[in-house]
Structure formats: structure tokens, C-alpha cells
């Protein structure tokens, strides 16, 4: 007879599903199977059970080999590095809990670091747009209960957020949407025929890189003004037809992803999409929501905001907080040679940053805290493996709609391994001592 745990939260994507069931071995020490999760989420739990897991911190030697050290030695190394640097970067935070982020921010404040999360390469541009024009939004349950117009713009939830459409946005039957997906019109805007686009009532196969123009044209159509014959490869008649479809809904939602946040014009695409949403509220009810990636990138933005006032790319070097992506953002700091030490936690810039930045990391004193051996860990001087958050420790996380959900611990971490929060606390206490001595 195996044990099982219900209502488990999935620490993979911003959908933050909280209905997983996990079957455990009789002694409660091993995860046997994961139910309700998507393939990626299930793998996240099962992967933690790998036998070849790295369980102790390791320093990279001159010849590229790794030397195992204790957590205390690793904390000393990190504390020294951060304290000595003139302008250290503390990057990542998106795949750990808010408690660890909080301890990290205390360290950053003491050592005068630039704190940044993975929004820098993802929805940071969305945040810039939100700062310019606002964000009419709602929780995912509102969409489930009310939405009769669902637009996916530059995103492909069928692959990137596999349970999004079934749990919240397209399939579910809610209070005012008793017929499920039959109560909704699905519009997908994407240059490719994605698996999401295949489900759409209307697929606007837009010319690549013309999102800003098409969004603008939809607003011109709402104002019933003159339009050129085609915009972004879409004939004006089709644009006016889609504008009518959007307007005729009772409650609409626009979801968008990296197809618009990281292509030409970046924040301006989102700015115009938000302007369209606001514009539609003159006729009916509309909301807009970014499809956030990492399961707690949203939480990192929230904690940074209440503690320092800005959601990412926060520069604390001079004892107060400054924010200006382009100046205080990690990629710019690295590519311009503005930083002299790099501390990475709960993310993998080695796999996602431009190669020039990864090279820069490899040249600088650097620490990587991650349960896995990642491309980032590979270029850093010190790799500190930690427990899996959401599997081996709980803590708070924020879903893509900013709803906080308290994650659950399912099994113990391997003997002697620390959590992010525990390891960061060691560094914090060490930095305090170093500062006191100085």
C-alpha cells in the first residue's frame, strides 16, 4: 500500500497548478509517481529522485575538475566574493521560494549588489510597458468563470504552459461559462501554425515582427478610422472583423508571451496590447495577462517591489535602490563590463544569455546555486547544489496572475543537503560578520 499526497503544487511554470497527487513509497522517502501534472511538471518531481545527484558544493579547479567542499566553506567563499566586489550581480531567484528571496535581498543590501531576476530575459519588457501604461488584469478564476473571448498573442500554451488551457482559459466550465470551450471564441495571433493556433476559431497568421502595427490597426478599427489595405499581412476587412469579434464579447482576455515580449519593439508591443485592452473596456470588459515562465518569477518581482520598490533589475550598490533596465539590468551590466562578480541562484543564464555575457561570467569570480548541474554551473567557480523547492521544501510562490500559493514539501532532501534559504542564511550571517569586522 503506497502513501499518497494531494493538493501538491507544481514548481515548474507560472501556471502553478496546485492539484497534483503524488504517490510515495511506504516510508515516505521516495516519489513513485505523479498524477494530474503535465509531462514537464511530473519530470520535475521524478528528476529529483535521480541517483547521480550532486549533493555537496564543489569548487572548480584550474584544470576544470571539481573539488568537493563543505557548505560552510562554500558560504565563506560566496560571502568573501560578494563583500570584496565593487559591483556584484545577484541574478536569478525565479525558481526558488519568496523566503529565500527575502534572505538574498538582505545579503544584497549589505554587499551593495545589483539584484535581478529572469524577467530580464522574459517579461521584463512587460513590466516596462506596465510602468508606462498600466495593466488591466484579473485572476485566472475570473477567466474560467466569465471569459467568452480568449486571445493568445505570441504564445503557445499547448507546449509552454501545458495545463493552462484546460485549467483556466479555454476548456473549463465556470459560473457564467457552463459550456466550457463552446462558450468561448479563441483567437490566436502567431506567424506559425502552432498546436494552440490549430484550436483557434480565428488564427491571424501575422507577418513576423509586425505585432505593434497590427495591435495599432485593431485600435484604429475600434475608432472606426481609416486603415491601409493590409497591415502585417492581414487585410483591413479581416482586421475590422476581428475588432468586431473582440468588441462583441462580454468578458475578454488577452494572454501574451515571448513572441511579443522579446521581438522587435519589445515593451512597445505590450504597451500597445495593453492600450488595446484598455480601449476595449470602453465597449465591454477586457483583461490582459503575461504568460509568466518560471513558477516564481512573479514572486521575485513582488518581493523585490515591496522591499525595494522595483520588480527587477534593482541596483543597490550605493546603499539605496535604483532601477533602469538598460543600465541596471544584468545583461547590460555584463556586456558593458560594469560588474566584477556574479552570484547566480535558481536560474540558468548560461543557457539563456547571449554568449558574450556567459563568457563574461566565466571570467569573473562567480557562484552558482542550483540543484542541477547546469550550463551556468559549468562556467562558475563554485557550484552549490541545494534541495528542490516545491519538492524537498515548501515556501511561498506567486502564480502568473500574482496569486500567492504556499508550496508543499513532499519528501526529504538527500542527507545533509541544505535548502536555498538555509544556505543563503549562512552567507548572510557570514557577510554580517565580515561587515562588522570592517
Amino acid at each position: 500500500m503506497t502513501k499518497s499526497m494531494t493538493d501538491v503544487i507544481c514548481p515548474f511554470c507560472g501556471t502553478l497548478c496546485d492539484d497534483l497527487e503524488i504517490s510515495l513509497s511506504d516510508d515516505g522517502k521516495k516519489i513513485l509517481d505523479v498524477y494530474n501534472a503535465c509531462a514537464i511538471g511530473a519530470e520535475k518531481f521524478l528528476h529529483s529522485q535521480a541517483k547521480d545527484r550532486i549533493t555537496r558544493p564543489r569548487l572548480q579547479q584550474a584544470d576544470g575538475t571539481w573539488k568537493e567542499i563543505s557548505y560552510d566553506e562554500a558560504a565563506e567563499y560566496a560571502a568573501q566574493m560578494l563583500s570584496k566586489a565593487k559591483k556584484p550581480i545577484m541574478y536569478g531567484w525565479s525558481s526558488t521560494n519568496c523566503e529565500a528571496q527575502s534572505v538574498g535581498h538582505e545579503i544584497a543590501e549589505m554587499v551593495g549588489a545589483c539584484v535581478d531576476n529572469t524577467a530580464a530575459v522574459c517579461h521584463g519588457t512587460t513590466l516596462i510597458a506596465v510602468q508606462d501604461i498600466g495593466l488591466p488584469s484579473c485572476t485566472l478564476g475570473e477567466i474560467k468563470n466569465r471569459a467568452d473571448r480568449v486571445i493568445f498573442w505570441g504564445c503557445n500554451p499547448a507546449h509552454a504552459h501545458p495545463r493552462h488551457m484546460s485549467r483556466y482559459s479555454w476548456v473549463p466550465r465556470g459560473f457564467f461559462t457552463g459550456k466550457g470551450h463552446k462558450s468561448r471564441k479563441l483567437v490566436v495571433v502567431d506567424p506559425r501554425v502552432t498546436d494552440t493556433a490549430k484550436l483557434a476559431d480565428i488564427h491571424l497568421q501575422i507577418e513576423q515582427g509586425r505585432d505593434y502595427e497590427l495591435l495599432n490597426a485593431l485600435r484604429v478599427a475600434l475608432n472606426e478610422e481609416w486603415l491601409p489595405d493590409t497591415v502585417a499581412g492581414i487585410p483591413k476587412e479581416k482586421i475590422r472583423e476581428v475588432a468586431e469579434v473582440l468588441k462583441s464579447g462580454r468578458f475578454g482576455i488577452i494572454f501574451f508571451g515571448m513572441g511579443v515580449t522579446q521581438t522587435l519593439s519589445k515593451n512597445h508591443n505590450i504597451d500597445e496590447a495593453i492600450a488595446l485592452t484598455k480601449h476595449l473596456n470602453e465597449f465591454t470588459k477586457y483583461s490582459i495577462m503575461p504568460m509568466r515562465g518560471h513558477y516564481n518569477v512573479t514572486g521575485s518581482g513582488e518581493v523585490l517591489a515591496w522591499q525595494f520598490g522595483f520588480p527587477y533589475s534593482v541596483d543597490l550598490t550605493r546603499g539605496f535602490a535604483r532601477y533602469n533596465p538598460g543600465d541596471t539590468s544584468t545583461i547590460d551590466l555584463l556586456s558593458r563590463g560594469e560588474a566584477d562578480a556574479v552570484f547566480v541562484i535558481a536560474s540558468d543564464p548560461g543557457a539563456h544569455f547571449p554568449i558574450s555575457c556567459v563568457r563574461q561570467i566565466s571570467k569573473l569570480p562567480s557562484v552558482c546555486i542550483d540543484p542541477h548541474m547546469t550550463p551556468t554551473a559549468g562556467v562558475c567557480k563554485l557550484h552549490v547544489p541545494v534541495a528542490f523547492v516545491g519538492v524537498e521544501t515548501g515556501g511561498n510562490a506567486y502564480r502568473m496572475d500574482n496569486v500567492p500559493i504556499d508550496m508543499r514539501k513532499v519528501v526529504d532532501a538527500p542527507e545533509g543537503m541544505l535548502t536555498d534559504e538555509e544556505f543563503l542564511t549562512k552567507i548572510r550571517d557570514r557577510v554580517k560578520k565580515l561587515k562588522g569586522a570592517a
Binding site: D132, F176, G301, V303, Q307
Partner: protein, 569 residues
């Protein structure tokens, strides 16, 4: 714990009826004690020629939670050039209208505020609200969950099921670790789910077949059935609209004949918040005028009501409210950036930056109305100073409001300085009110009054032995107030602030991160199988989270709780 004795100050304590007499205040083990009960080791604070009051109690401010943080996220320009660098063991802080959590705690403490209530907590976001409160140092805090657009409440009250409503309220207060029953634009925010609104208390809520009046009346009854420490706390329909004072009066009349039932010494059954925004005459912004007198005449006559003012401070600020449709209306007026957060089954909220410019008549008249309300209040124990922070202005302006209330000259100077001075003066009675409030009245409006209204008069708001040692010394000699600016200066930076017996502010500087507690109400009701089944069903069918993942548990969200027990079985 340390002992202190604050000697020879002019003490203002409405709880004991002390009106500026020279007296000593002794502190031991976090409580006020008789001055004979401290040892000779007690540290002496010389308060000669200074004003001594209890720690002030904030009854309504938006300082923690999702919409406050949305404000921080979307207004980097609110932080520009406002940052104070990190000092010693204190955390860095910045922001003007939406300060960071650390700055919030420090700024309140510097003004002598030791207890604050977050005015609107969306239940689904209670963990977020608590995480922010945990990171707000020094001040004791509680949060009011919003109930006025809640699907359970509307479905029960449609059939006038008061007992079920009360049982649900008790469950939600416990699940969210909330403090009181808050209503914001009852019914109107649910209507906003469809882009609509409820503009009067008789406009039906779409689909739910209930009126705001029924929701308000039902929640008053449920609140009194439970006997909660605070009454219902209401932001009525039609906030910020010319001519809305009639809706305000209609709302107040719903409390007529209801008597408070509780063991906390609370006498009111309805708290009307940011009354300034609800005391407007005229038909449009062109002939907009004050109806403060009409509203205050009613409030003065009806002792089962308390209010707070919502004073406009003439600053650039950030408006934020669970009144979603109002914020949409506002962005259509000023075209500044609009954020909206609708919350499934429960509530909504919106934000828009706003500039209360002294050059705009409407803003200047709003400023007049807020002051009129306070000056017209016959019983300062029932009328409290707020700015509905940050809606009418940031809370750091309280000392300036005190100056305006205490000095006719300061008011007249400001009235004359307005660009359209004549028009502004004609639109309210403020210019003719020469009343100057006393420090004793200020102590009633900021200490004893709000503490009593919150049902916390045994702990806060006074200096009677046995009460919490929240004590403030201001460098203001009540016998020698010359320039009104002295009032603002003294109340901005207290000489000493003690929070539960710990010295947290010295000479206007924060010196200690304090011993912050989170206040919440644990109301026990008889087991109610019907309500538990309904909760279970709503989570299965309509919420986007599981019921098992809904509750704010103590371990890391409320690390230092102070639960107020209510037995309503």
C-alpha cells in the same frame, strides 16, 4: 525588559481625561504601569515642555497587499530621488506615495503611529498581504478582508440568511487571518466583472438579484451577531461623484436602530471611511460643491456611527481601491496609467496616479471638504483623521493635516493661495469655520477614538496603567505654540516613540526595528455544515486554487500573531 519613566510632560490622554496636565508616564515589561511600579533603574526621559500622547492608531490605510504592490511595481517614478540610504541595522527604504514596506513602518513610527490597519485585503491574496505586513517593521498591523462583493455573502443575503453569512465571515476571517468586515462599493465591484457598476444602494447587482442595501444591512447584522471587535467598515457606492452625498446618507440610514453587541466596548455598528470622497454636492465637476454639513449633521446625531475623514493633501499620489469601476472612471478623466485586478468570487481593485493640484478648483474643494468634516465633528471620539493613504494623499502628511485643523491661520493662508481662491471658498463653508482643534481633540481623533472603534481600547489609544506601552513624546510645548509650522514639525518627527515598551524612535530617528505583531480575529461559531458544504462546492467548481491551499497559515505568513478571540457559539 527595560523600564522607563517619562517625566514632567504635558500629557493628553482621553482615556483618563488628562488634558495637558503635567504628569509622569511609566513603562515596564511592555505595559504602562503606575509610576510607583518602576524601579530606580528606570531610564528617565525628560519631557518638560513637551507633549506626551499614546501611540497613534491608523484606522484606514492601503499599505500592504496586491494593489499596493502593483502601485510600487508600476510607479518607478514615485521612487525617483526619494530614497533614504541604509543606516545601521535598519533596512533601506524609498518611495513617496507608495513607500516600500520598510519605509512604511519607519515613517509611521517617526510620526508616533504604532498600530495600523490595512484597509482592504482581497481574501485570495491574504498570504501576500501578510508577507508585506511581516516586512513592515515596528507597527502592529491588521488587515480587513473585503466582503461586499463576495459571492457567498451575496447568495446568503439574497435569502436573508444572516446565520450562514456570519458563519462564512468567521471562516474567512480565520482563513485569511483578517481583522474586520470591509465593504467596498458593495455590489458595484461584482458588476464591474461585466464592466458595469452599482451607483445607488438600490441598483441590483447583475445576476445575483440583490441590492447593495441588502448586502450592507445583512453584513451589519452578521457583524453584530458575531460580536466582532470592529463594526462593518464601509466605502459606499458612488465614491468621488458629484451629488453622491445622498447615497452616503442612504447608506448611513441602514444602520438606524441597530445597537452594537460586543464585549470590546465598541459602540458603533458602521464605520464610514474616507467620508470626504462621499460628501459631494453639485451635478457635475463644474458646479461641484461641499455637502460636508449635511453628512456631518447626520453623523453628529447618530451615535452608532464612526467615520474617518480622507483628507486631501494637495500632492501627486497614487489612487488605489477595491472600487474597480471608480478607477476606470478616473483613468478616463485624467488619462494616466490604469491598473485593474479583478479577483475571482471575491472582489476587484484598480489604481491610477493622480495629482491633487492647488491650481484645480475641484482638488482645492476636496481639500476643503476633508477639513470641514473634522472641524464639524461634535464628538472627536467618532471622527478620525485619515488620508485614505495613498488615495487622498500619503500618510506622511498627517502632521500637516493636524496643523490645518489646529490653526485657522494655516487654513486661511492655504485658501488664499489657491489659484481659483474665490470659487473654492464659495463651494464650502471652510473659510467661515474658525474652530481650532486642541491637542486633546487631536488625541481623540488619532488615538483613543480609532482604538475604541476597532474594539482595542483596552490595549491602545491611552496611557492608563495596564495598557500597551505605546507612548510618544513630541517636541511641542502646548503652552507656547506660535507659528503653526511648529505643529507640523513636531508631529513629523517625534522626540521619543515607545512601541510595546521598546524605544523605537529617538530624536526623530528610527533606532530599533521593534517587535511587530499581526492582529487578527478568531471568531468561533457553531458548526455549520451547510456553509462548509458551500465552501467546498465553490472551491471545486469556481475557484482556481484548491481549498486546501487557500488558508494563510501562521508559520511564515504571520510569525508574531496576536489573535483576538470572539466566542459566537
Amino acid at each position: 525588559m527595560s523600564e522607563y519613566i517619562i517625566k514632567n510632560g504635558h500629557v493628553f490622554d482621553p482615556v483618563q481625561g488628562i488634558k495637558g496636565d503635567k504628569s509622569d508616564v511609566a513603562i515596564k515589561d511592555g505595559k504602562i504601569v503606575k509610576d510607583t511600579e518602576v524601579s530606580s533603574k528606570a531610564k528617565v526621559i525628560d519631557a518638560k515642555g513637551k507633549t506626551v500622547m499614546a501611540g497613534a492608531v491608523e484606522v484606514h490605510a492601503h499599505i500592504a497587499g496586491p494593489k499596493v504592490n502593483m502601485g510600487r511595481i508600476y510607479r518607478p517614478e514615485d521612487k525617483l530621488f526619494t530614497y533614504t540610504p541604509k543606516k545601521g541595522n535598519l533596512r533601506m527604504g524609498g518611495g513617496f506615495s507608495i513607500p516600500t514596506t520598510f519605509k512604511t513602518g519607519y515613517e509611521y513610527a517617526k510620526m508616533g503611529y504604532t498600530t495600523c490597519m490595512e484597509a482592504a485585503m482581497p481574501p485570495l491574496f491574504s498570504r501576500h498581504t501578510h508577507e508585506e505586513m511581516r516586512d513592515t517593521p515596528i507597527i502592529d498591523e491588521g488587515a480587513y478582508p473585503v466582503f461586499g462583493n463576495n459571492w457567498f455573502v451575496m447568495e446568503y443575503l439574497k435569502n436573508n440568511e444572516i446565520e450562514n453569512t456570519a458563519a462564512y465571515c468567521a471562516w474567512l476571517l480565520r482563513a485569511t487571518k483578517g481583522y474586520a468586515i470591509k465593504l467596498v462599493n458593495p455590489g458595484g465591484t461584482e458588476a464591474w466583472g461585466w464592466g458595469l457598476n452599482c451607483l445607488t444602494i438600490h441598483d441590483p447587482v447583475p445576476y445575483f438579484d440583490i441590492t447593495p442595501a441588502q448586502i450592507i444591512k445583512g453584513l451589519i447584522d452578521a457583524n453584530e451577531r458575531l460580536g466582532l471587535p470592529h463594526s462593518i467598515h464601509i466605502h459606499p457606492n458612488s465614491l468621488g461623484t458629484p451629488g453622491n452625498y445622498t447615497i452616503t446618507l442612504d447608506t448611513l440610514k441602514l444602520a438606524e436602530g441597530v445597537k452594537a453587541k460586543n464585549k470590546f466596548g465598541r459602540e458603533q455598528v458602521m464605520h464610514l471611511t474616507h467620508t470626504q470622497f462621499h460628501s459631494y454636492g453639485g451635478e457635475n465637476w463644474g458646479n461641484f460643491e461641499s455637502k460636508a454639513k449635511e453628512v456631518m449633521d447626520y453623523v453628529n446625531k447618530n451615535k452608532n456611527i464612526t467615520i474617518d475623514t480622507g483628507n486631501v493633501t494637495l500632492d501627486e499620489t497614487t489612487t488605489m481601491t477595491a472600487d474597480g469601476p471608480f478607477e476606470h472612471h478616473l483613468t478616463e478623466l485624467n488619462h494616466l496609467k490604469w491598473a485593474n485586478i479583478d479577483v475571482e468570487l471575491e472582489t476587484g481593485s484598480g489604481l491610477v496616479p493622480y495629482i491633487y493640484s492647488p491650481n484645480i478648483s475641484v482638488c482645492a474643494i476636496q481639500w476643503s471638504i476633508g477639513l470641514e468634516l473634522a472641524l464639524m465633528a461634535k464628538d472627536p471620539m467618532r471622527c478620525f483623521i485619515t488620508t485614505d493613504h495613498p488615495n487622498a494623499g500619503p500618510f506622511i502628511r498627517y502632521p500637516r493635516i493636524m496643523k490645518w485643523l489646529m490653526s485657522d491661520k494655516a487654513r486661511q493662508d492655504q485658501l488664499k493661495a489657491f489659484k481659483n481662491s474665490d470659487k473654492v471658498i464659495a463651494a464650502s463653508t471652510l473659510a467661515s469655520l474658525d474652530k481650532e482643534m486642541s491637542l486633546y481633540e487631536i488625541a481623540m481623533m488619532t488615538r483613543a477614538g480609532p482604538a475604541k472603534s476597532l474594539g482595542l481600547s483596552n490595549m491602545y489609544g491611552g496611557l492608563k496603567p495596564g495598557m500597551d506601552a505605546d507612548v510618544v513624546v513630541y517636541d511641542l510645548n502646548p503652552d507656547k505654540i506660535g507659528d503653526p509650522e511648529e505643529i507640523e514639525k513636531a508631529f513629523s518627527l517625534a522626540s521619543h516613540v515607545f512601541k510595546t515598551g521598546v524605544e523605537v524612535v529617538k530624536n526623530g530617528e528610527v533606532v530599533n526595528n521593534g517587535n511587530k505583531r499581526t492582529l487578527w480575529v478568531n471568531a468561533k461559531v457553531q458548526e455549520n455544515a451547510q456553509v462548509m458544504r458551500d465552501i467546498n462546492e465553490k472551491f471545486l467548481k469556481y475557484y482556481s486554487v484548491k481549498q486546501a491551499n487557500y488558508e494563510s497559515l501562521g508559520h511564515h505568513f504571520v510569525p508574531n500573531p496576536y489573535a483576538i478571540e470572539v466566542d459566537a457559539t
